[in-house]
Amino acid sequence: MNARQLNDVARGVSWRQLHNALTNPVIFIPSLAFPLLNFAAFAGGLAKVRDVPGFTFNGSYTAFQFVFVLLQSAAFSGVFFGFGVARDFETGFTRRLLLAAPNRTGVVLGYSLASAARWLITASIITAVAFAVGMKVGGDGVDLFGLYTLSLLVNFAGTLWSTGVAMRIRSQQAGPVMQFPVFLALFFAPVYVPLSLLTGWIHGVARVNPLTPVLEAERGLVSGEPTHTLLAYGVGAALVLGFTLWALGGLRRAEAAG
């Protein structure tokens, strides 16, 4: 009975959230425009960086940056989703939803599924654009499946993080709190060059950044030279687990707040 209630609530919530996101351009376009803009700026503008001595990536700079942009879109798609959750708190919709839902954990699951579905659409468009501008992929089908599932884990983590924040602050003013740490985690990874070419403080920060092995593993998968893949999946799974607890903790806080 509990599993069925969980499923019913998750399905209802995810359908509503996905419908809102896809029928309102103001919600959908930013989560698509920012990664595409970054892709154009990084892959197009910085292509010459590929010629820096010691740049070890086995592929074009377009493929190198495609991976970062895919990861960024996954994380930020989740973060942007949190804005909608916060807005629902402000309008009072979430209060009614929590009253009506027989299984409130299903609300969090529904948010995560809707966010994942929305990101898959974004990822498809980014991938199509990357191939359209001539990206070559060294990895096979299994490698690419690994690339997208790893990014999907990051999307889940991003959604659960922002949902947890939204449920604690329950206001759209929580936007910067959701975005800023994710932004820092992404840009403190080796965004423009491989880790070995980073020097100084940024190298030290990138080495301990949990997103660094994820980014490096994804670049390995796209180039057909898998590296740190198991570690990256471990990090991805740990992020999802940790932020699931964080989001459920937020749900309990929201319930307690009435």
């Binding site: 920012f34 197009g44 910085l46 292509a47 010459k48 820096v52 740049f55 070419l197 020097t199 190298h203």
Partner: protein, 258 residues
């Protein structure tokens, strides 16, 4: 003091006080560009190893970018402040007074300009503290602040135009990221002669923001480059004239006295 100067001073004082009472409007535009500067100067340091790169310090190369980002924040802040005045009816009440439209426009931008000057000094100080030495000397530093103020004024006028045209803070918030496209597709991260992707180099060349960046950059890494400075001040004045022209036309429609 003439009546016009008195009108401008009254509104400018209100604008400055209002801006300084919103910490987010001051702190975020100060810190965010510096954070991006830190991330990019660490991540892209390897770019200085490319043959033909104009300096061996990426921090010095990238120091020009925060001045433009600060100007872009001025767009958002000016637009949002003015849109709020429209939404709350303040502008309509002003329309009942004999105040001139130009006084309103110039006065409303007072707060933004005060923050812009603060930003310019702050960015310059950050660069100097972290070891950047201006090739154009102390006078060059003053010219950078002057150019930064001109850039902020131009962008702020476009923000005011967006607010007067739409009368909505949400619409201004939505338009604001569009201006960032100009920063992304520019010579912000790499000199135009080192851009190997033809379409990107073409867009960066027709993008006025490239010339604003290169004007500031020339004072930091080159010294006194007449061509770069003429282009930067020419583009800056052009942006101011276009922004004020559009904003004044929209203002006369919105303040139509019957």
């Amino acid at each position: 003091m003439t009546a016009l100067a008195l009108e401008v001073a009254s509104l400018a004082r209100r604008s400055v006080v209002r801006t300084l009472r919103q910490p987010a409007a001051v702190v975020f535009p100060l810190l965010f560009p510096v954070l991006l500067l830190a991330v990019n100067s660490g991540g892209l340091r390897a770019e200085t190893k490319l043959p033909g790169f104009p300096t061996n310090s990426f921090l010095a190369f990238a120091l020009a970018v925060p001045f433009i980002q600060g100007g872009l924040f001025a767009t958002g802040n000016a637009g949002i402040d003015l849109a709020k005045d429209i939404q709350t009816g303040f502008l309509n009440r002003l329309a009942l007074t004999p105040m001139r439209g130009i006084a309103l426009l110039v006065g409303e931008l007072g707060g933004v300009m005060s923050v812009a000057l603060l930003q310019a000094v702050f960015y310059l100080a950050i660069g100097l503290v972290f070891g950047v030495r201006l090739k154009s000397g102390i006078v060059g530093g003053l010219v950078i602040i002057l150019l930064a103020a001109l850039i902020a004024l131009g962008f702020a006028a476009f923000g005011a135009f967006a607010a007067l045209r739409t009368g909505s803070t949400e619409a201004v918030n939505g338009i604001f990221p569009v201006f960032f496209v100009f920063l992304f597709i520019s010579s912000s991260n790499i000199p135009r002669n080192l851009m190997s992707t033809t379409w990107f180099r073409w867009f960066a060349t027709i993008n006025p923001v490239s010339y604003l960046i290169e004007g500031v950059r020339s004072l930091v890494i080159t010294g006194w480059d007449a061509q770069a400075l003429l282009l930067a001040f020419g583009v800056g004045l052009g942006v101011v004239a276009a922004g004020f022209g559009l904003a004044a036309a929209s203002l006369s429609e919105r303040l139509a006295r019957t």
